[in-house]
């Protein structure tokens, strides 16, 4: 019997030895659901995250080496493209949508405003190949990375092989994006009983739970569904959202419910960035909702909020700002790699 136990202990030791070293883990914030991404199957690795971070900030991913992921996803703006209703990409070409804020992506099931992408590991292919974003191909990116001085050693460190593949390039970018977790706003400290809302914030939270929480479900402040929130169709863009992917009439005019975390920093709002301010957003929900066949049932009746209540609700939304996320040194431009 003793021999059997020794054998099992030996096996366990080997397993632990393989798991140690560079491997790092995703800490699920207290009270949060299990992430959708399978970290047990695809564990995070420090060197892979670091490589992904370099790729995220490197314009080498675009045809003329001018546009990086960060061009439209700036860390100080909750990883979105501040000030631009429709994000502009290569050669100042204008796209058809507002770049989404990037955070807590491990909990997403589908990506992009219409859910066109089914896994974070393949997400970067979409902007890379888009003619008005990066206008590049993954094949050519791999060739450029292989010819560079800095990347082959980084790939060797991350994947044990300096021969660069599309698979490893995209995996690395995905791993970096998975680390962008925002869970340390004032709201979170209140939930952890470490601080308290002001009376105004408390009232805003009450109103939020009355009118918004069904779609912007806590703690991620999205239920990850696709909804028609009553925006009129921009006839210049004719963007009908999710239907392009699903081909279901029921999905016409539906877009992904975005998270409200760091909303103070992720303006302008909506899939086409039509609202510059939170007050414009609230004005839409209180008096601008357009009725149509696919309108979210939750918006059938107009939301009634007095001017004071709108202020209180906005005050609550500001408690979702997470400075430790916005200014996290692990998320910024990796000068030590790209500008050594």
């Amino acid at each position: 019997m003793k021999k059997s136990i020794t054998f099992v202990i030996l096996l366990s030791t080997i397993a632990i030895a393989f798991k140690s070293g560079e491997q790092t883990s995703m800490k699920v914030p207290s009270g949060w659901p299990k992430p959708n991404y399978d970290f047990a199957k695809h564990p995070l690795k420090r060197s892979t995250i670091e490589l992904g971070r370099a790729l995220f900030y490197d314009p080498i991913l675009s045809r003329n080496n001018t546009i990086s992921c960060a061009s439209c996803h700036s860390p100080y703006n909750a990883f979105t493209h501040v000030d631009h209703a429709l994000s502009h990409g290569i050669e100042d070409k204008i796209g058809t949508r507002n770049s989404p804020a990037l955070m807590n992506l491990a909990w997403n099931k589908l990506f992009m405003w219409d859910g066109a992408v089914n896994n974070i590991e393949v997400q970067a292919l979409a902007p890379m190949h888009n003619k008005v974003e990066m206008d590049e191909t993954i094949e050519h990116v791999v060739t450029k990375l292989q010819a560079s001085k800095i990347y082959p050693p980084l790939f060797r460190k991350a994947f044990g092989d300096s021969v660069i593949t599309g698979e490893n390039t995209l995996k690395a970018i995905g791993q970096f994006m998975l680390t962008l977790v925002s869970a340390n706003a004032k709201y979170d400290s209140v939930m952890r009983h470490q601080s308290k809302f002001t009376m105004q914030e408390e009232n805003g939270y009450r109103l939020f739970k009355m009118h918004c929480v069904v779609c912007h479900t806590e703690p991620l402040f999205t239920n990850h569904s696709f909804e028609n929130n009553g925006l009129s169709v921009d006839t210049a863009l004719n963007d009908y959202g999710r239907i392009r992917i699903s081909h279901h009439y029921n999905d016409s005019l539906k877009f992904k419910v975005p998270t409200l975390r760091n909303i103070e920093y992720s303006y302008p709002y909506m899939h086409d960035g039509r609202f510059k301010t939170l007050s414009a957003v609230l004005k839409h929900y209180t008096s601008g909702v357009q009725k149509s066949k696919t309108l979210s049932p939750k918006l059938e009746q107009p939301i009634v909020l007095s001017a004071n209540e709108q202020v209180d609700l906005t005050t609550f939304l500001l408690t979702l700002s997470d400075k430790s996320f916005l200014f996290n040194p692990n998320f910024v431009y990796p000068k030590h790699i790209l500008l050594p």
Binding site: N118, I138, T165, I245
Partner: protein, 241 residues
């Protein structure tokens, strides 16, 4: 407490026994003599033509066609005997490209004395693999068989020109894929085969083009009804002839 200890000991012994049986089974499989069977794909428009790409073929005195690209995924290869699976290829994903002679032949390592009378495989990539994130080898997105504006593999890519296409360029482009209902395009192909030193499967593109009706449909680039219809037509063109 003693009972609990005995129970734990028994569980551990059972676990070790299972582990032993598993390892023994694996060892037997490894020890089994194997042979390599080439599985060749022969896409053709005219059976007597040795090349498919960039050769002009004539339907009649007025109509002609030439193919520029033919690429498709073969996955989940298995051999059956009397409708029972007797061998399955592990990690079975292959990109077949008419422009790459080597890719037209897959090498199957099977047990030497295996008896089989049917080959089964999928044309395309299954739903689970389509949602599994980024993959390597023949499934690497650099192979040009992965959509970028939305997730998913292109199962079959067929491109070329024909005067039957009523546009200035006369170009046709079929990028057939889709892994979600109602536009699931994965096809399962079952072909009876005789045990030989090699297996050859023909793909009759003339049959496909005639049924695809180039005059009416010359561009399919996303998962839709046409993609499903054409995927079925393409799968029907495989035979053991």
């Amino acid at each position: 407490m003693e009972g609990l200890d005995n129970e734990k000991e028994n569980s551990l012994m059972r676990l070790l026994l299972i582990l032993f049986i598993f390892l023994w089974g694996e060892a037997q499989l490894v020890a089994q003599p194997t042979k390599v069977i080439p599985l060749r794909f022969k896409p053709y428009f005219e059976s007597n033509s040795s090349t498919l790409l960039n050769t002009t073929f004539h339907f009649n005195s007025a109509d002609s066609i030439h193919f520029e690209t033919l690429r498709f995924y073969i996955s989940g290869i298995e051999l059956q005997n009397q409708s029972k699976t007797v061998w399955k290829e592990k990690n079975s994903f292959h990109l077949v490209d008419a422009a790459q002679e080597n890719s037209l032949t897959l090498l199957l390592t099977i047990p030497k004395k295996l008896e089989y009378n049917t080959i089964l495989f999928h044309l395309g990539i299954d739903s689970n693999t389509n949602t599994a994130g980024v993959l390597g080898g023949d499934l690497d997105p650099t192979k040009g068989m992965y959509w970028t504006w939305q997730s998913g593999y292109i199962n079959v890519k067929l491109e070329g020109k024909s005067n039957l296409v009523n546009t200035t360029s006369h170009a046709f482009e079929f990028h057939l894929g889709g892994y979600l209902n109602p536009f699931q395009t994965l096809q399962t192909i079952t072909i009876p085969c005789i045990q030989k030193e090699e297996l050859t499967l023909s793909i009759d593109l003339k049959q496909f083009i005639e049924l695809a009706n180039l005059t009416g449909t010359h561009q399919v680039m996303s998962p839709n009804e046409e993609a499903v219809k054409l995927s079925k037509l393409f799968a029907n063109c495989f035979s053991g002839k």
